[in-house]
Every structure is written in C-alpha cells, then in structure tokens.
Amino acid sequence: MTPGAHASSTERLQIEAEADVVVVRRRARELAIAQGFDAFAVAAITTAASELSRNVWCHGGGGHALLETVSDAGRVGLRLRFIDEGPGIADLELALRGGCSTGRSLGLGLSGSRRLVDAFHIETSPGEGTTIEVLKWARFPH
C-alpha cells in the first residue's frame, strides 16, 4: 500500500482472457479522466494498465486488477494493483531494466510502466505469483 493515499472506491476486474486486458485499460482510462487527469497523464496510466494487465494474462496465467481512486491532502490520483498467482519473475532486476524480452512483448512493459507512474511497487517470488502496484496523481489542479 502506498502511504498517505486514501482509497475512496475500489473496483475489482478479473483478467482471465485477452479481452479482459482491453476492459481493464478502458476502465483505467475512464477513471483517470473522471479524476481530472490531463491527456498525457491519462495516456500514461492507461498504457501502464495495458502493459501490466497483459503481463497478468500472458505471464501470470491470469489474475485480477484492483482499480482505486485515491486522495491525499487535496491531491487526487489513481492506484492500480495487478495480482496473479503465476510463476513469479525469476530475474526481477533484469525485468525492471527492460531486458526481459519474451515472445509476446518487447521486454519494455515492466520497465516502461515504471517510468509512466509516480510510484511503483512490486512483490514477486518464484511459484507464488506477482503483485504490482502503481500510483499516479493528477498533475494539475482542476
């Protein structure tokens, strides 16, 4: 959990099929717009949602996403969590450097997503799955 960010609502979306990736990124986009994100921030968090939900589906064997609108001291933001119980990431350092290219991705999904958000937290262990949490704040007051 990101300290200082209070959740006001949480939605849970299953990621069990390729089409669910589209559903998650569409919903993330709607929430970002509703939170008053500017176009660049909307694109950033939507793209991160797309990359990370695809990871859940492709590498994690499915799982779910938690989408939360958050606020802290007048700021509003969006916190997304991606949870799977797949094989985990064997070489996390390599994956976060962007060198972990697999059949379906460039290997930039994880490292790229990290650069698009304000906070990024990952927990993974072999055989027990992966949880990734990202947080992005609306940049300009509205």
Partner: protein, 119 residues
Amino acid sequence: MSSIPILRIRGHLLVPVQPDLSDEVVNRLQNDVLEAIAGERDRSGGLLLDISGLQIVDTYVARVLADTASMAALMGRRTVLCGMRPEIAATLVQMGYLLEGVCTALDVDDGLDLLGLPR
C-alpha cells in the same frame, strides 16, 4: 470481432487503425495488411498506417506496427505511420520505445506528401 478496413487512395494503401484493439485484432491487422500488399496490382504506392484514432499505443501495439512496416519494406512497400497524438509520442518515449527506423508523419496528408503525390 470487427475487421480493419484497408482503403486504396491514389495507388497507396491506407489503413485507419481503430481504437481499443485487442491483441488478436492487432495481429490480424498485420496479416491482412501484408496480404493486401501481396494482392495489389499497383506496386508503386506506399502503405499509410493512420493511428490518429488511437488513444493509447502500448509496447505491444507499437511493436506490431513497427514490425508491419519492416515486413512491408521487405515486400517492397514504403510505410508511413501517420497521426500519432502528442500524449502517445510522450508515453512511448518515456517507456524507452522510440520506433526507430519507422517513417512518421503528422497526418495522412503529410504522409501522402512523403510518399510522393500526385500520381
């Protein structure tokens, strides 16, 4: 599943890429475009991939688009990626994906200029 239209405009192939594509449709787009190139009688035109309708381009879609341009090049077609929105350009560069080697234009008009009009 909707399919991607492939239009012919002054000897060029124009593909208006639709928003919210699933990976499956993106993959089919690549196949359909390459088959359309092979089936074209007029061999002198280029390929315009119009992404102005896309709200986001993640690394997967970006790779399929770049790969499609490379594949078209192997088949003798020049490709121009047209209409990338500012926020998509920013997002791709932030992620470290620069689409190097892909010819780009601000919109389809500029893309047609790049490919050489009139015919």
